[in-house]
Symmetry: C2
Subunit: 607 residues, 2 copies
C-alpha cells in the first residue's frame, strides 16, 4: 500500500543517495516511455523549471527541485493535466514540515492510524521499506522536514540526542535521498540529566551543554533541520521556571545550533492549563498573543515561532490566531493538524483543504515563512487509518508549496492519482470530500462553539464536557444565552487583531454566522441574517449535518473503491452516521432543554 503512489510502487535500492538520483529513478519507473532530461542548477534550490521539448521534457532545478519537478511531471501526465511549454515553480515556504507526535514506546499521541512507524519498545525500530514509502509520499508533494518524535518529550525520548544518536543518523540516511531532513523534538530540561543543576538559559553551564550537544548531534546528522521545542506548556519545563522570557529561552538554543545551520522551532502553545472555570477574566484564546507579541524583534534569526492556526487548539472552526498577524519582525511557522484530534479521529470524514483556504483568506502569505502539520500517519496498512484521510496529507503538501492551491484541484488530483475513477465518479468523490468539513461542523460545533467533546478523549458529543474543567474552554450556555463576548466589552480578545478584522467580527449583526458564538454571547431568539432565530439555526444545522452524513454514505457506497479500501471506508462511514445522529440529537436536546424553544419545523427533538 502506497496511498496515492499505489500506481507507482517501487523498490528503492539502498544505494540511492541524492534527490537527483531519486528523480531519475521515479521518472524511469513511472514514465518509462518518456524522455526526460535533468539539468542541475544548484542555485534554484527547491525550485524547478519544467520545459516541454520536441522529444520529451527537460527539468532544470536545484538538488531537491529536480525531484519535485519530476513528481510534478509524473502527476500531470498521469492525471492527464495539460502542461504549458514552460512551467516555473518554487515553494512558497522554506520549511514544509511534518510533526509526528510519536512516543518511544510506540504509541502516537492523538494517533488514529495504529502505532508508530518509527518507534517501538523505547527505541527507533522501524521497517525501512515503509520509511521509504512515506519519504516518497512526502517528496511527491514537496514536503522537506520530518520531525519524528512527540513534542512532549518524556523519557526515554531524550536518548535520541544521547545513546540513540547513531540510530537517528541511520534514519536520516534513509530519507536524505528524498530531499527530506530530520528534525527532533527536545526536552528543554535535558541538561539536568547530565549533572547540571538547572536548565536556566542564561546559565553558562547550560549554554555550554547545548553547544556541545549540538556539535555532537550535527556531526552525526549533518543536515539535521533543527530542534522542535514545546516549553512551559501543559506541564512541560521551560524558561519561565527560571524567570526568563521565551526569547531568552529560544535564543540560547538558537545560539547553540547556529554554527551548523540549524533552526529552533519554538511552539507558541502556552496558556494557563489550570484555569478556574469561575474565573471569567482569563480568556484562553488571548494567551499566545499576550505571551509572544511583546517579544517581537527579540528572537534570533534562526528561531521560528510555530503558531497554531487558531487561538485554541485545532477545533473544527477557529478564527485565525491573532499572533500570526502580530510579529512582523519574527520568523513564524503556521501549525496545522492532520491528525483528526477534534475532527472525528479519522473515523468521520473530514477534508481540511476548505478550512486551510479560509486561513489564507485572512493570513497574508508573507506573514509566515514555514508551515508545519501534525501527522495523521501510523503503521496501519493504509498509513492514515481512513483511506480518504490521505487526501489531507496530499493537500497539505500542495498547500505548503502554494497556499492558494485550489482545494478542488488538490482533492481531484489526489482522487485521480489514488483511484482513477471516471470523471463523474471522481467529481462525486471530490464533492463529498470538499463538503465533509462543513458537514462535520454542522453536527458538532454550533456557530463557532467547539469543545463539546469528552475530555481527554476528544471524540463524541458531550455538550458540557469541558464546561467546568480547567482548560479555559467554556460556552456558558444558560436558559437565556450562549457564547462568550470576546469584543472590547467582553474579554477583549478581538482587540488583539488589526482594525480591519476587528470590524468584520465586532458587531453581531454583521459578524459571519459561523463565528458568531465564538465572538458574541447572544440570546436564543437572536435573529440571524436570514431571519431565523439563533436556536433554530442551531437545530437546522444539526439536522442538516446528520442528513448530509447519511447522503455521504450513499455516495461512497456507490463508488468503485478497491475492495480493501471500500471495506474500511464503509465501516467508518457507518460509525460516522451513528455518531452524527448522537451529535445531532444530543446537541439539539441540550439547547432545547435550555431554551425551551421547539423546532420550527416540528422535527423530533428528544426530551
Amino acid at each position: 500500500m502506497n496511498a496515492w503512489l499505489n500506481r507507482f510502487p517501487l523498490s528503492v535500492p539502498e544505494s540511492l543517495r541524492t534527490p537527483e538520483e531519486a528523480a531519475r529513478l521515479e521518472l524511469a519507473h513511472a514514465l518509462p516511455d518518456c524522455s526526460v532530461t535533468l539539468e542541475s542548477v544548484p542555485a534554484m534550490g527547491d525550485g524547478f523549471c519544467l520545459f516541454r521539448e520536441k522529444s520529451g521534457y527537460r527539468i532544470a532545478g536545484g538538488p531537491a527541485g529536480l525531484l519535485y519537478g519530476a513528481w510534478r511531471l509524473i502527476f500531470s501526465l498521469t492525471a492527464c493535466e495539460e502542461l504549458p511549454d514552460r512551467l516555473e515553480s518554487a515553494p512558497r515556504y522554506a520549511l514544509r514540515m511534518i510533526n509526528c507526535w510519536d512516543n518511544p514506546d510506540g504509541t502516537v499521541e492523538r494517533g488514529y492510524s495504529g502505532s508508530s512507524l518509527f518507534f517501538r519498545g523505547g527505541k527507533l525500530d522501524y521497517n525501512p521499506e515503509r520509511i521509504r514509502v512515506i519519504a516518497r509520499l512526502m517528496a511527491s508533494v514537496g514536503l522537506n522536514v520530518l520531525c519524528i518524535n512527540n513534542v512532549n518529550v518524556h523519557f526515554p525520548g531524550q536518548l535520541l540526542l544521547e545513546d540513540d544518536l547513531p540510530d537517528l543518523a541511520r534514519l536520516a540516511e534513509i530519507i536524505r535521498p528524498f530531499g527530506i531532513r530530520l528534525m527532533v523534538s527536545v526536552d528543554y530540561s535535558q541538561p539536568m540529566r547530565h549533572g547540571i543543576p538547572t536548565a536556566d538559559p542564561l546559565d553558562t553551564r547550560v549554554q555550554a551543554w547545548w553547544a556541545e550537544t549540538a556539535s555532537r548531534v550535527w556531526r552525526a546528522v549533518p543536515d539535521l533541520a533543527g530542534f522542535l521545542v514545546k516549553a512551559d506548556s501543559e506541564g512541560r519545563p521551560g524558561p519561565f521556571t527560571y524567570g526568563r522570557n521565551h526569547a531568552e529561552g529560544a535564543n540560547m538554543l538558537a545560539e547553540a545550533v547556529r554554527p551548523f545551520g540549524g533552526v529552533i522551532v519554538w511552539r507558541c502553545f502556552v496558556y494557563n492549563c489550570r484555569q478556574d472555570w469561575r474565573d471569567t477574566k482569563t480568556d484562553r484564546p488571548k494567551a499566545a498573543y499576550d505571551h509572544y507579541a511583546p517579544l517581537d524583534g527579540q528572537f534570533a534569526s534562526n528561531v521560528i515561532l510555530q503558531v497554531k492556526h487558531g487561538p485554541f487548539d485545532f477545533q473544527v472552526r477557529e478564527p485565525l490566531s491573532p499572533l500570526l498577524l502580530a510579529m512582523p519582525k519574527t520568523h513564524l511557522a503556521l501549525e496545522l493538524q492532520l491528525a483528526q484530534e477534534y475532527t472525528g479521529h479519522q473515523i468521520d470524514l473530514y477534508t481540511m483543504m476548505p478550512m486551510w483556504q479560509e486561513i489564507f483568506e485572512e493570513l497574508p502569505d508573507s506573514a509566515i515563512m514555514s508551515v508545519a502539520a501534525v501527522s495523521n500517519w501510523g503503521d496501519d496498512a493504509n498509513y492514515t487509518g481512513h483511506p480518504l484521510a490521505a487526501a489531507n496529507f496530499f493537500g497539505y503538501g500542495l498547500l505548503c508549496w502554494d497556499p492558494h492551491t485550489d482545494p478542488r484541484r488538490s482533492t481531484e488530483l489526489w482522487a485521480r492519482l489514488t483511484y482513477g475513477f471516471p470523471a463523474e465518479q471522481e467529481k462525486k468523490l471530490a464533492d463529498c470530500l470538499l463538503s465533509s468539513r462543513r458537514t462535520y461542523e454542522k453536527y458538532t460545533a454550533p456557530l463557532g462553539i467547539g469543545w463539546m467533546v469528552t475530555p481527554h478523549d476528544h471524540y463524541g458529543p458531550n455538550p458540557s464536557g469541558y464546561e467546568y474543567d480547567l482548560w479555559g474552554t467554556y460556552h456558558k450556555a444558560s436558559r437565556d444565552a450562549v457564547g462568550i463576548d470576546r469584543t472590547e466589552k467582553g474579554t477583549g480578545y478581538l482587540c488583539q487583531y488589526p482594525e480591519e478584522i476587528r470590524k468584520k467580527y465586532e458587531d453581531p449583526a454583521s459578524c459571519p454566522d459561523l463565528y458568531l458564538l465564538f465572538y458574541h454571547r447572544l440570546p436564543y431568539s437572536f435573529r440571524m441574517k436570514d431571519g431565523r432565530t439563533l436556536v433554530q439555526r442551531i437545530y437546522d444545522d444539526h439536522f442538516e449535518g446528520y442528513a448530509e452524513t447519511e447522503a455521504m454514505r450513499e455516495t461512497l457506497r456507490s463508488l468503485p473503491f478497491p475492495e480493501e479500501d471500500r471495506a474500511v471506508i464503509l465501516e467508518r462511514m457507518d460509525r460516522q452516521v451513528h455518531n452524527a445522529r448522537e451529535w445531532c440529537d444530543i446537541i439539539n436536546t441540550f439547547f432545547h432543554r435550555l431554551s425551551g424553544i421547539p423546532d420550527g419545523q416540528g422535527r423530533t427533538i428528544y426530551e
Copy 2:
C-alpha cells in the same frame, strides 16, 4: 497497624486450628487478668451466652459463638460498657459476607486503599500476617464469609477452581480458625474452557462439569461457603445467552454444590446497560424487579439472590430496592458497598451506618437471610485508605449481627476501641462521622438525584456526566423542571412497591424531601414543605454541605489522632474541602443557568 484491633496486636501461631482456640488466645492476650471459662455448646452455632460470675466470666456457645462471645467481652471491658449478668446473643443473619472485588493482577475494582491483599501477578500471593489481621478484624465483629475475587471473573480468575485450587485451600486454612469460610466468584461460562461447547444450564455436559468441579473443589476446601455469580450483567455471560431464565441458571449450579453444603449466591444486578438515552420508556430501577420477582418460588433452597440495597447502584441516596420486598419464597441477601465508589473514594468522609438504618426502617428483618458488603480493603498500611473509613467496616459487622444496632453505638464503640479519646472528643468524632453522609449528600446529590459524577471514574462533580450515556441514569434537567416521574403516571417504578410504601412517596406534597426528585419531575418553583422553592432548597443544601465540610475539617484538626492517622486524615480532609467547593459551585451554577432563579440569600453563584 490493626485498625480497631491496634490495642490488641497479636502474633497468631500457625498451629491455631479452631475458633475455640482463637477465643482462648484472644482472651488470654486482651484480658490477661480476667478469668474466663469457655463452655462448648455446638448446637448454639454462631450464638453465645455470656455470664458474669463471681470470679470472672463464662461463655457458652457453638464453635464460632465462643469466639464471638470472647470478642464481645473484650470489647465491652475495653470500652468500659456495662454488662448484664447474662447476655444471650446470636446473629440475625446466617451468612455475614465480605465480597472483595480483587482481580488476579492485583488491582481492585473500585478499590481506594491500594492493591489487593490477596492477589499479585495473576496468582494468590499474600502476606499471611495481614490475612490473619483481616480475619481477626472480621471475627471480632462477627463476619463469617469472605469472597476473595471480583464478581467480574476474567482470566486467569478461573484458575482458582483449576490449577490454583491448592493455593485456595491454603488460604482457607489461614482464616478457618477465625470462623471464616471462603467463597469464590465463578465464571458462568467456565465449562467452555474445558472442551464443552456451551454453558447452557440445561445441557447435561455442563451439569456434569459443574458437579465434578464442585466435588473437586470441596475436596480441597471442605468448608467452602459456596460460589458467587454475576451472570448476564454488564457484559458477563449467563443463562440468557441460552434462552434460560435465572432460576434455571442458578438451580443448575445449586444442584452441583448441594451435596457439599454449598450455596449459590446469585447477584441480581441485571439491567440493559446499552440503553438509549432517547428511550423514556425503559427505567433502569425497574429492571431487577422485572427480571426476578416473577421467579419467586422457583429457586432452589440453596440459592441466595443477592440484591443491592437500592434499585440503581450504590448512590448516596436510593430508595429500598422493591425486589427485597417481592420474593417471600426465595432466600435473599442484602448487598451493601463499603467501597466508596460513588461516595467519595475514601477521600471524602462518608460514614454509612445512618444510611443502613434507613434501609432497615423499610425492610423487615425477616425479608432477607444474609448480608453481603463489597469490601473497602486494600494493602494500604491502614487497610481502608482513609483511617476513618474503618468505622464502616466495623459498623457493618455489628449490623449483620443485629440490623437494629444503633449507628451511634457502633460508631462510638469503634472510636473508643480505635482511639480511646476522652468522652468529649469521642463525641465530637462520632458526631462528625454520623453527620458525614448527610453532608456528602448535601453537596453532591440534590434531593434524590445521583449520578452527577464523571463516567467510569465515579468521582467529582459532573452534572450531566451520565445524561446522554447508555446507563439509564438520567435527571433530564431542563429550564423548567428536573427529575423523573416514577409514579403510576410516569415510568411506574413506584408500582413495584407494596401499597404502604407507594402511598408514602406518590404525592410530591407529602413525599419525603430527600427522595423528591427520584420519584417526581418538578418545576424549580415547586414549594417544599418548609416553604422554600425547590431550587432554593438545592442552593441551600449545597452551600450548607460545603460549610459543614469546612467545619468538619476544623473538628478533625482539633482531635488528638495518632500522628500516622492524623497526617492521612487531614490530607484527605483538605481534598474533601476542595472537592466540596467544586461540587457546591458547579451544581449551583448548573441549576442557576437552567432556572435563571437567583439565590434568595444573595450568595455567590458563578456564571
